[in-house]
Symmetry: C2
Subunit: 225 residues, 2 copies
């Protein structure tokens, strides 16, 4: 009673979470039914409601399990970056790499289900259901605030409003890159073999995003801000 949480305590819970991650990614939140979910996880139909309470609570649990550690890692990466050169302001590229690193590294974890989650996360930014978007926003808030402040220090000459938009653009590029699995093939007409080479993808993304963030300010933009 005192400490029974040691070994395979919640095998049912984690098996449900793993399968939910995969099926939500494949079919969406509404498209993945409790019956196909519990069947694939080899648990009883009532298990989800018993362990999580409802389908919505399960969705929430799926996000919390991965998103919290990921954003902790992001903040840690930024802390480390700032600690490396005390008193100096980190360059935009370093901040960008600190942010996209944890996400990209998770995509290499195919066995552990990390890749499923990353793709699920990417398409959830544009999820129709408001409650889910609100949850994502809430879970992201702490890390987001830290990074926004870091970018503001790194680019003091940029109008705040323009910076917000460029952060938004960077978010979109990252989300879409992680979520859109087959659209690359659509453009290229072929399947890139290195799609899951996180290191190479990080180089490509960092180059693109850094250049975009540092794009020259035209008069029209400067005037509007």
């Amino acid at each position: 009673m005192s400490l029974r949480a040691i070994k395979p305590q919640h095998e049912t819970r984690t098996r449900i979470l793993d399968v939910a991650e995969e099926l939500f990614m494949q079919h969406g939140f509404e498209g993945a039914s409790m019956r196909m979910l519990t069947a694939k996880a080899s648990v009883n139909l009532a298990a989800v409601n018993y362990h999580f309470g409802s389908k919505h609570a399960l969705i929430e649990a799926v996000f919390r399990r991965r998103l919290d550690p990921m954003n902790v890692a992001r903040i840690a990466a930024l802390d480390k970056l700032e600690a490396e050169a005390p008193g100096r302001v980190p360059a935009p590229e370093g901040i960008i790499r600190a942010f996209i690193g944890p996400g990209l590294r998770m995509i290499e974890d195919a066995r552990g289900g990390g890749r499923n989650f990353i793709r699920l996360l990417g398409r959830t930014y544009t999820e129709p259901a408001k409650s889910i978007r609100a949850l994502i926003g809430h879970l992201y808030a702490p890390a987001m605030e830290r990074y926004k402040a870091a970018f503001e220090r790194a680019l003091p000459q940029m109008p705040r409003e323009e910076l917000v938009w460029r952060i938004h653009f960077m978010f979109g590029t990252l989300a879409y890159t992680l979520a859109a699995t087959d659209t690359v093939q659509l453009i290229a007409g072929c399947k890139p073999e290195d799609r899951y080479d996180a290191r190479l993808l990080e180089e490509r993304l960092a180059a693109f995003l850094t250049a975009g963030l540092n794009a020259p300010l035209k008069n029209t933009i400067r005037k509007a801000a």
Copy 2:
């Protein structure tokens, strides 16, 4: 019988399409049911199956109605750009503006439902259902080929694989920008008042994307290609 297609011929059809556009955007394809759809359109429940055949066919019709003219406009913009300076290769920024222009202009059409569609389109790039992604890909294919070729001519020194990725990044930025309505506020902590000022948004996007597309090629990237 010969020509009865003149005035309000298919008022029911278009009313269904308009409402479908709005509800699919708000609740997703599965979340928007035929009953709430037909109720909001003030038509009978059976009207959708009568006029379109099925829900899936309705989804297809919603996309075809807007996407075909939009991509025609995109190709026309590229044709015009190339005609302005015969024999010369258009600059990347011009190509980018030709591509994002038609989409952004549609976002200003709030009354005609264009804004609804653009937001719907943006989140459909990451739609779980394979059949819908395939449809989008098919409708995009002609314009995509033209623009890919234009970028290749404009950036002959860039490795093909890197170019494909950067086009992919640009696609993501555009899609996410159009689709994510409140995520910006969620992240930025403020609401940009000029969200639907298409002209200003085009300036911001063009600056960001042009810089990203022209980002310097590092050795790691050059070596991989």
